[in-house]
Amino acid sequence: MGVGGASRLTEKVAEILDKYPGGIKLIDSIEYLVTWARANSLWPLVYGTACCAMEMMATGSSRHDWARFGVEVARATPRQADLIILAGTIVEKMGGNLITLYKQMPAPKYVIAMGSCAISGGPFYYDAYSVIKGGDRLIPVDVYVPGCPPRPEALLYGIMELQKKIKEEGRRKPWKIGKLLKVPFIDPHTLAKEDWAMLEQKKESRQQQAREQFKTDNPDYRPPKPTRLPKEKFAVVPRMQLSTTGRENEHLFSIIQNSWPAISLFRQPDIRPETVAELGPEYILDLEVEQEHYLDLVRFLKEDKELGMDMLLQLTAVDWHDHFDIIVHLLSSKNGYKIFLRSPVTKAKPEIVTISTLFLGAEWHEREVYDLFGIRFDGHPDMRRLFLNDDFPGHPLCKDFEDPERVVKRPY
């Protein structure tokens, strides 16, 4: 039979056997036997990146049980797997690994693209700079199973479709590595609109006289009123007052004020501890501080006995077009209140001191901010990109990030 199906040897054997009376039947029965075996013993690779992997596991669980189809022994090594189910989003950084996995698998191998992300990038089609729009741009896909995520029954239906496709293989239709989709990322929405607009122009000219003729013979034509769906009306409900948060703002602010007199709240220049209360019970103190005092204020907030902000929630940044804002969220695990702290960073010199000496968790947060905004943290033990490849052009979360090759702008 040969791995790829119809190799030259099988061609010659087929010709010799065709002459004998039962020859054709012998070859066809062997082909049927082999394709029956391949179809009924598909061993999937243990590969799942995102939400579709949960539905793939549900298909393997007791209720849907894909073992009934012989698809049970999920192998962890690509060497023994002959089916990849692309369950989840394929990201640019994972693309190389996926191609390696596909090349490591012995032929004949099959691929099922499961879920909208693997078919076309799904929810991450527009404005996503790191998602590959569809698995068939990297490895040839045999069956597409739409859904987000598709039900286990839909995946089982997809597997049955793949079994049908395998059973048709033979020396007339040998198994071959399929073709890839080489189309650049285009926006199907606007394309459809443009094509339709051209169609409309042509139709417009053709229908001109038909319209006059229609207008003449029933001048008082009143178009039928479309019936609107009765929408259920609900009453306005006042917001429930939460019991604990917010009360301590004056107390907190007065503690900070007396050791940091120059401190001010974000967008509240003339604030005093007394007037903090009317900012509302759910207002969380949002301190603003220059770069110089940034590290000392964080150390003060952490080490002060009364405040005791011992947990770093997160460290992130906001790009205000003219400057960045480094934002630090702190939480006190003993008494539960939170304090936010921000410090402006100019776009000319995007650098600030690291606080990973105080909070070890800040190391990853700072690497993420460097990766997505380009703000360096001096004194950081391991200043590397966290999510993207090192050769990624630019820093994507900045407002002025443009990359026509990767990003498809949202049409509306």
Partner: protein, 391 residues
Amino acid sequence: MNLQPVNNHRPDRNYIPPGFKNAINDDETSEEYFLNMGPQHPSTHGVLRLVVKLNGENVLEVVPHLGYVHRSVEKVAENQTYLQNIHLTDRLDYLSSHINNLGYCLAIEQALDIGVPERGEYIRVMVSELQRIQSHLLWWGVSGMDLGAVTTFLYGFKEREIITDIFEELCGARLTMNFFRPGGSFADVPNTFIPRVRDVIKRMHLALDEYKILLTDNIIFRERTRAIGILSREKALSYGCSGAVLRASGVSYDVRRNDPYSIYDRFDFEVPTGTVGGCFDRYQLKMEEMAQSVRILEQAVETFPNGPYRSREMPAYKLPRGIYYSQVETARGLLGTYIVAEGGPKPYRVKFRSPCFSNLSALNEMAAGHKIADLVTILATLDFVVPEIDR
């Protein structure tokens, strides 16, 4: 953007992979080498890549590599309207998608001062607790499978399908629900909801006892998880861990109790904490959380009110200029939603504080000095979801 197959094979011995301080010492006596537990590995729960410096079987240092499922959620969220972002939060931590939606809707309600009627609040609490039980069931099954007991995976999923049926009847989807809206939910609960929840409560009592016999009391499981991956109290706080990882190290912080949202302060439930901070403590805490969620459900089912399920629906959700932040306790820890609004229909900046991101950053603290098999145990009890780490 041409993608080539990746080849991690580095022949020369003094190559230092990124993130490590020093190379392996290469004299005859040492058996040190680098092992790449690549993005496709059965025990990394998705696509997390760990480069491990080993001496024989003992782990010296672990450096996780992230970004293999970084789907640029925050950039996409900046270009979608507020209502469209709700379905995006499903796909962050898809095992607690209801609770993610709730966190995002709380932030919008805080901005637009929207209240939620009594029945809506009850639906939110009950659906969140069902989602927590469903997530813990999957965690229990997968952590059993990572330790070699494949049958626990099937038993965990068997119970999980019952709760998935409730969600499918509730909002039409099995995993990515998109059910909550600012002010309540997009539809009322069907009348078969309460009987099904009572059925879940009954089954969960039986299942929890069965799981206790099958895995918790099993001598092999106890030996495999006893005194493994210990995280001290200071380190847990310094890394910003939350959820069962933080409570296992002795810090009693649960958002539902310490910073209550919705009507959680009306239900009484326990927030247990561990003493040693090892894998077995984390495991027992998560099993205890399941029992507590069942307790909350029992109380909520008794006093489930009638009346409207949501408040007035705004024609267009335009948040006034300002900063809004909300916190919820997902199955894995504290999920914070931070929205910077500039008044338009679309948010200016959305940042999700992911619990698994901080829990995983403490991996090197826990794994150094143990064996490879323990590294897998620590990954199992850490219970992280990679798309939420990479966002």
